[in-house]
């Protein structure tokens, strides 16, 4: 059965609360399988991670600047992630979005998909009256030269996406000092809270992410009853 057009699709939103990285990976694997078999519709998984450093497929161990024991002392876990990109940090105060989408039939272009996710994040910044920008040479979303959101994705057999983006809301940015984010040295990171000079929580940013996902991808409706599942 051909996929319905995007306007006929519903984006289901699942708020999963604070989820450890390995569990979130398992959850994504499960959702990808169910999306592929058509048991669920396109789903946006929104969550936060406990302190964790993840290495993408182009991850260079040298971009993790602390030893494993130093990281353990700060309760920072390290995981290899099945996504593209280099090293990044996730932690409390960072809104992580994992869209599990079927890109068939008309969005089967991974760069287009990356650009769409960037567009989502730019719109979120816009709703905070911030003006973000892309960097043609580095995927992600930037404000004034500092990275506010990182992107790294995976596409599984059948053009089902997983992994996604991480938007710093009120992230403790000092944790980024432990890494060279995305392998780009000399590129600072920032957060919504720092940019707006007030405390912006991940919860506050979440509805804007959902709205922007709907707008950019053109979903006809959003089912956020998954909010009830929030821990």
């Amino acid at each position: 059965m051909p996929e319905p057009s995007w306007a006929e699709r519903t984006l289901a939103v699942r708020y999963a609360g604070c989820v450890a990285y390995p569990e979130a990976t398992d959850l994504q694997t499960d959702l990808v399988e169910r999306r592929r078999s058509g048991q669920i519709t396109d789903t946006l998984l929104l969550l936060e991670h406990p302190h964790v450093i993840t290495l993408g497929s182009s991850g260079d161990d040298r971009h993790v600047l602390l030893t494993r024991s130093e990281l353990a002392a700060r309760e920072v876990a390290v995981h290899e992630a099945g996504r593209g990109g280099d090293v990044t940090y996730h932690g409390p105060g960072q809104l992580v979005g994992y869209p599990i989408l079927d890109l068939k039939p008309d969005r089967k272009d991974l760069h287009l998909y990356l650009r769409c996710l960037e567009e989502v994040l730019l719109r979120v910044l816009g709703s905070f009256h911030l003006s973000g920008s892309r960097d043609d040479s580095a995927t992600g979303v930037w404000v004034g030269g500092a990275k506010v959101a990182a992107i790294g994705i995976r596409v599984s057999s059948g053009w089902i996406t997983s992994h996604g983006f991480a938007l710093n809301a009120n992230t403790d940015l000092t944790y980024f000092d432990a890494i060279v984010p995305c392998g780009l040295s000399g590129r600072p990171v920032t957060s919504l809270s720092r940019l707006l000079d007030r405390n912006v929580t991940a919860q506050e940013a979440a509805p804007m992410v959902v709205d922007a996902m709907r707008g950019v991808f053109g979903y006809g409706s959003v089912d956020d009853s998954g909010a009830a599942n929030s821990k």
Partner: protein
Amino acid sequence: MRCSPDPPEVLRRAHPARQQRVRPAVSRIEVPMPQMGESIAEGTVSKWLKAPGDAVDRDEPILEISTDKVDAEIPSPSAGVLAEILVPEGETVEVGTVVAYIEEGAGAGAAPGADGKSSRSGGERAMASPPLDTPPEPPPSAEPVAHRASADEAPADPECTATSEERLRTRSTPVVRRIAQEAGVDIARVPGTGHQGRVTKQDILSFIESEMAERAAAAVAAPQPAAPAVAPPARVAAAAASAPAPVAPPAAPSRVPATTAPSDLWTRFHREVEHPSFPVRDGDRVETMDKVRRLTAEHMVLAKRISSHVHSVIEIDFSAVDRIRREKKARWAERGARVSYTAFVAWACSRILRDFPTVNGVISGKNIIYRGSVNIGMAVDLNPGLIVPVIHDADDLSLVGTARRIVDLATRAKSRDLAPSEIQGATFTITNPGVLGTMVGMPIIPKGTSAILGTGSIDKRVVVITDEATGQDSIVIRKRSFFSLGYDHRLVDGADSARFLSQLKELLQDFPEDA
């Protein structure tokens, strides 16, 4: 346009399997590096999920690839047996490159019979080859396309605009653009060898390597002979890395060197540099080396590995030079010339280097090259970094001419305005650690030469001199300096070095008035 579900041109061309559809028996299906996006020109095989000989179902993931920021599973286009892997893990290939063969059909093992889908004709299966697509594509309907257009109201999406700049941009991947940006290279200058003239990662790396090698060579005063005697280290490393890839099937034995002969080890020792890592402590700052620093670091290690370094030091009295400088300073100034101590030293070296062909030569393989000209490299501190512009045919210049050339080269070195030829071809190098107060230095001999002179600070010292006429000793104050000569002991004997330094000392202490 970009949303068309038609398989891209490259995929269609990459599937001769279409022509095999009526073949009844065993057929080989190519698995190409799929087109994962319009602007994606290449992909890296990150992991093989199946080994040669494994049975695979149609659509079962058989490998993972990665491109910039994206990981993707590639499913088998067909049920059968993974017959051959052509591209090992870690290797990056262009879109459309065949990465493996699947054998399907009667002889292909259990998989086809076990799968209901496989009862369909082989032709149908082979036809569904756009590798990521499970079902055959529905005909393109206008609706989703139109809808997508309206969904992307924001004009900010750069991929949706098709300016000429954008088209140029799509000649390369983001990785390539990032590399180009970091290196300050205009991609338009890089010849693209990839699909439709795209600039591949290899293209940009080779381009930067050749450019940076020039600059780095200059930075350490390495006067590379015209022949590219030394392969770019990165490429050697890449070749070495791909050769012993454990997943490489017997299909590609030609890549694996049969033996590692001692000469190979020697070659690698002189061409490859690995810097060990060290733990980072609290409060440390860690930065990735920029390319100039990295190549300089490699060059310094190689230079030190290659030459058998020995240093000799001599003390030189600058009274004569000092007196001439004072006397002629005003006259030189009128002519617009500033004659530094360095100019005196460079001029003096250029006079005597012809008398020391080994100091002005180099060991090259089994030969000794005695250089036909005297080209003096002058290390210039850029703070940070250093560069070594070259005074070509220094022995043709007068003292003032040498001084003018030095000022000109140093000025343009600092404004990064030197032509490549002006940082190449040195036969001898002078470095001046003394300018910052160092008493004496033990410099590294630049690769491709046999000697480097380090000039120490010129300081007033209390010395004992003997009156030649009366034979009477007296204590006087003199401006003096320690000069060190770093020389390659393979070619330059200790006595040669001593004679060179003595002659230099003599010339500087009894400096000709008409220089």
